[in-house]
Symmetry: C2
Subunit: 490 residues, 2 copies
Amino acid sequence: MPGSVLHAPPMPTAPVTPALLDALRSIVGDKGLILDEHEKQPFLTDWRGALTGQAGAVVRPADTNEVSKVVRLCHENGVALVPQGGNTGLVGGGTPWPTHQGIVLSLGRMNRVLAIDPIGYSITVEAGCLLEKVREIAADHDRLFPLSLGSQGSCTIGGNLATNAGGVQVLRYGNARNLVMGLEVVLPNGDVWDGLRSLKKDNAGYDLKHLFMGAEGTLGIITKAVLKLSPPLKDVCTAWMSIRDLQAAIEILSDAHQASEDNVGACELMTRAATDMVLRHIPGVQDPLKGDSPWYLLLEWSSSRARNDGTEGMSEKMENFLAEQLETGRVLDAVIAQNETQALNMWRVREGVAEAQRAEGPGLNYDISVATSDIPRFIDEGVKAAIQISPTIRPYQLGHIGDGNIHFSFKWPANMAPAEMLELSPKVTRAVNDLIVSMGGSISAEHGVGIEKLDELARCRSKTELDVMRTIKRALDPQNIINPGKVLRL
Amino acid sequence: MPGSVLHAPPMPTAPVTPALLDALRSIVGDKGLILDEHEKQPFLTDWRGALTGQAGAVVRPADTNEVSKVVRLCHENGVALVPQGGNTGLVGGGTPWPTHQGIVLSLGRMNRVLAIDPIGYSITVEAGCLLEKVREIAADHDRLFPLSLGSQGSCTIGGNLATNAGGVQVLRYGNARNLVMGLEVVLPNGDVWDGLRSLKKDNAGYDLKHLFMGAEGTLGIITKAVLKLSPPLKDVCTAWMSIRDLQAAIEILSDAHQASEDNVGACELMTRAATDMVLRHIPGVQDPLKGDSPWYLLLEWSSSRARNDGTEGMSEKMENFLAEQLETGRVLDAVIAQNETQALNMWRVREGVAEAQRAEGPGLNYDISVATSDIPRFIDEGVKAAIQISPTIRPYQLGHIGDGNIHFSFKWPANMAPAEMLELSPKVTRAVNDLIVSMGGSISAEHGVGIEKLDELARCRSKTELDVMRTIKRALDPQNIINPGKVLRL
């Protein structure tokens, strides 16, 4: 969290010695070993440039067998390792701490698609496979891999699964963990768990795959996955509407499930302020609906059935629905994209927020979730709490309301001194997170914990919950060598 | 597994002493304690009457606080406990072993619906709530709780979640674990984990709820849950068809996803032999499609959007689809249910199998899964393997093919001596399970492990996988007092 000061955990692990480097080289060869300081840098710094750590080497194995040997070597020597995929995380989960004495284990070379089964709707890939590549190969076979993220050109499946990634299609398809049938995982002692099964149902013992997913590489290293595919979407309707208030947003979404035949693909909340910020900073984006209403929704319905002449498609259904919602007074004004360009523009308004925020200047971002029905109260009270601490702070609330997931953001006023930001930031963070805890919400809906939310997690979840997590971590990784100092302090 | 001989594990736990009974009574009162041998019986015998165990007492707490106190008392005294819901399991997961010296902890009195949020599509219930009650209360609020099982009038949500129940709606909605947003769990030391959050997204630390679901009560006791609701289904079309062969079944299903707009609700495989068995034993059931084709499908498409005049509903879509599939030669003949009575009759053929099998006489049942695309090869080779062991055995293969889940069943010939059945059973089981393992499948797709599949699980899953499970079990329940001797032998 910007502004909070995290102290690096002590790392009582062994350093990378010349003998260890020789042993690593004998496993992965010269092309699997990066020792040069300059070449190591991209693996030691998170992509935002916010965090930088250390590592004695970056090790890039070519296959599961090499991963297993590297991990076993580390295990036998008490050397810590940080698994890393595309290094696109937002909380430092894949970035080593400055006190890290071990290695970074990059899965980037393991980037093969191993099999695709269009009839069985599955694809088997190595962990280092780019998300975009998985999506493209699925599309080549008339199938959809629904996980969709801004970073899909550089993030990898292994990282997506280790962090249980979200994105804009969660409402319909669920988080990354819902898209997985089987996993292969290298355990902290180097053993390989072969759970690479193409099974939709398996109640033969504990479900281990769900434990490794979302653990951010602290319990084992995902090396392969069998992923579920879906039929491609062939009839998509995107609409943009101004709405009465936040309660209306919840009610519109509630009705939309039924009216769309359970085909709601996305329901994204935007504000006038966030829209204007995008229009200020991102060239070529059009305002889908002029006016100065404070709240907007981007609503997308999508079906895998191509529209035939004479049948009712998604846009006719959306039209009827919006007419009804206008009558109830929940929708004030609305426009349906008439072509792909218009739909794309609506999405650029929504997805341009991240870039616009960077251009707009420093601020605070919270990736939170509460029960969908609690969103209006959370936003109302959260903004009030922040303004009480900093009366000139500018709120930008938006997000995946269908998932109860708000990207709750603030920008500091233009003239505020960095020292003041630094002083106020932890206070706002604490107020927001306390509100979340009081409402039974999550301080990390989709981005994970990594380094940045480590101490807030420890503060916001119960001792009992943290104890169970620590018990599992200690049992599976008693030396604390697999991504130490992430998610939990031991 | 009928015919296999399971030896009861040693139970080095403390017996139920008079002092412990006094302490239990002071927690749950007289009405929460069953000591009478006759009254205890229903809790000590599984509903099929196949397994009977022992318990010093049946304890029936009224709320989470009482569960916590009972578990803590057991923890402090080293007394084992078997958590039990509706006692409708098929593998003895809720039945104590004959060597069990501790108590049965029945959740049956904790049967309240605590809250329903139709706008947020969620319902919060206690573990002892009947599945049927959850479904009814959801329906009263124009919502669907999709989990649907034959035993829904007597099974409880706690048991459904502890066993990650399946049923006939998995294809569309997923297993029980997919329907859960949050859990409250009493841990083996009596601590209460409050994970009762109404969150669709939560990446703040390890996902503990998925660990407790499917663990069959061996890691903790689920006491409350927040469940996801869906819009009710308002346009359902059920069809029955004879098909060319098993490969055709897989291809029909593959195409159906798209043609139905991803609205396939169920795709159930039946054989002529299984249909005839139902017709022989269940009065009032009609054959949906006369003829002697060997393979049939029950295909149901369902949408949450009511059908309006002039728009294309599920039945028009199904009609077009079946016409196309007839042309490809995959479908030989088909009938679409013209009203609810006809649809119900098709389902009675499929669901009557369990009852018809009991009437038909002794046999073997395997609840297995493989990759959907592997079903034809599995059935072909599995039947051959069984017939090689017992040439007169009669196969009945049916099941949820969309989930890759086959209920792979056999009946012994009418004149076979019980001793011969007993001799052949373990051989058939071993051959079937070896085939499953060689195909990367599961020996328990939906029924779990419990007592009955304990030793086959140990044989069929890798040492690495079993080690990870044991490590987790030992870490969370070091005394092995929570449902000991289920899922894993320690």
